[in-house]
Subunit: 227 residues, 2 copies
């Protein structure tokens, strides 16, 4: 198998059957040794973070499969920290789609004149460009359409499926008395043109709180998967 991409938190290999293998690493995004799902740099390495992220991803992707929500997921090997997925191309050079239930992070930094920290938001969806150099700028439906990244119809589809997936994760977390504040996803298009969720759903993609206390990604995996 051939390494085709070295990412911040995972590497991607092409398999001989045309599918892809994602290798989850123990690096997590953050700054100055503090985890931050919105950061563009690897902040720290945590023993077991890759495997924990994969376990939670497998958990959520299998729930989504049952619900008929399309993802690139085929199978996972926890021991090897790898996930086999269908090939999919990203929109433009990659987008992040964020769903927010509370005003925190970059939302608050931008709209703090109108929102208080932690204020409830009604599954607010926004899209940012994956562009480290320009600090992942937010981009509107009109701009995505005009720049040929995503049509207006695809935007609406993406917004709908984002709300469904985020709602599913929120419900699952609520079963363990955990509140989802925000979560980010990546999407792609499969060879037959379907829009599917790609990448992962783990602690590194979301801000989760229990009784007002932030839960670290590794801790979240424990809370969610322990019987």
């Amino acid at each position: 198998m051939k390494l085709i991409y070295k990412g911040k938190t995972k590497d991607v290999y092409e398999l001989e059957d045309g599918n892809y293998l994602l290798k989850f690493k123990d690096d997590v995004t953050g700054e100055n040794g503090v985890f931050d799902p919105g950061a563009n740099t690897v902040g720290l390495t945590m023993e077991g973070a890759g495997r924990a992220g994969l376990k939670l991803t497998k958990h959520f992707f299998e729930i989504l499969k049952e619900k008929g929500i399309p993802t690139h997921y085929i199978d996972a090997d926890i021991e090897e920290a790898t996930m086999t997925v269908k090939p999919a191309t990203v929109f433009g050079k990659g987008l992040e789609v964020i769903c927010r239930y509370r005003a925190v992070g970059s939302f608050l930094r931008r709209y703090g004149m109108y929102a208080e920290e932690g204020q409830p938001l009604d599954a607010f969806v926004e899209v940012t460009l994956k562009d480290d150099e320009r600090q992942d700028p937010p981009i509107s439906e009109d701009a995505l359409d005009m720049l040929g990244i995503l049509s207006s119809n695809e935007y609406k589809e993406l917004k709908d499926v984002t709300k469904k997936i985020a709602g599913t994760v929120k419900e699952e977390l609520a079963k363990k008395d955990i509140d989802l504040y925000d979560i980010k996803f990546e999407f792609g298009r499969t060879q037959d043109g379907q829009i599917v969720l790609i990448d992962e759903i783990s602690g590194g993609n979301m801000r989760a709180y229990k009784q007002g206390e932030y839960i670290e990604p590794l801790q979240l995996e424990k809370f969610m998967l322990e019987k």
Copy 2:
């Protein structure tokens, strides 16, 4: 008459009949002595800039009046550098609505991964919050609605009227062989609930080019109004 607001480029007074008087100043926005319509600081003072801005504003507002596009404009006194306007309240704490025909300025700084400098844009409209502290962040239709600043219907109305006004300015400039690259507007709601263009339309609100050369605000006023 009572001073009610001291702005970067103009002061606002309340008149006894309930209307407002805008006093245009000779200060223009920019940084380090260089004019920049997108800047939040007063960069320089140019003798006659206030009167020149008012002359051009009067010119455009009277054209808009003929076209039946609603503005807050009542009358102007060039000698005194004042404009009498209908009272109007801004959306939230003030928005800027930008219409772009070329990829320059903050658009290029945000979306330079997908756009080349000067690339034509199809009357692309975007909204930013007036918030100096947070560098006037762009905000989406959904966020404006959710934060109670502007409903989705009002957003559509604002986008339509912005395209009409920008199109009118573009046409007028084209008559003098001048290209409009981008322009920013402010809107408000009058007491009877109508959305109207407020503030001004002058060189300080737009980037205009002649044969590929940028035209300074004072120069633009001369080109546009000289017979």
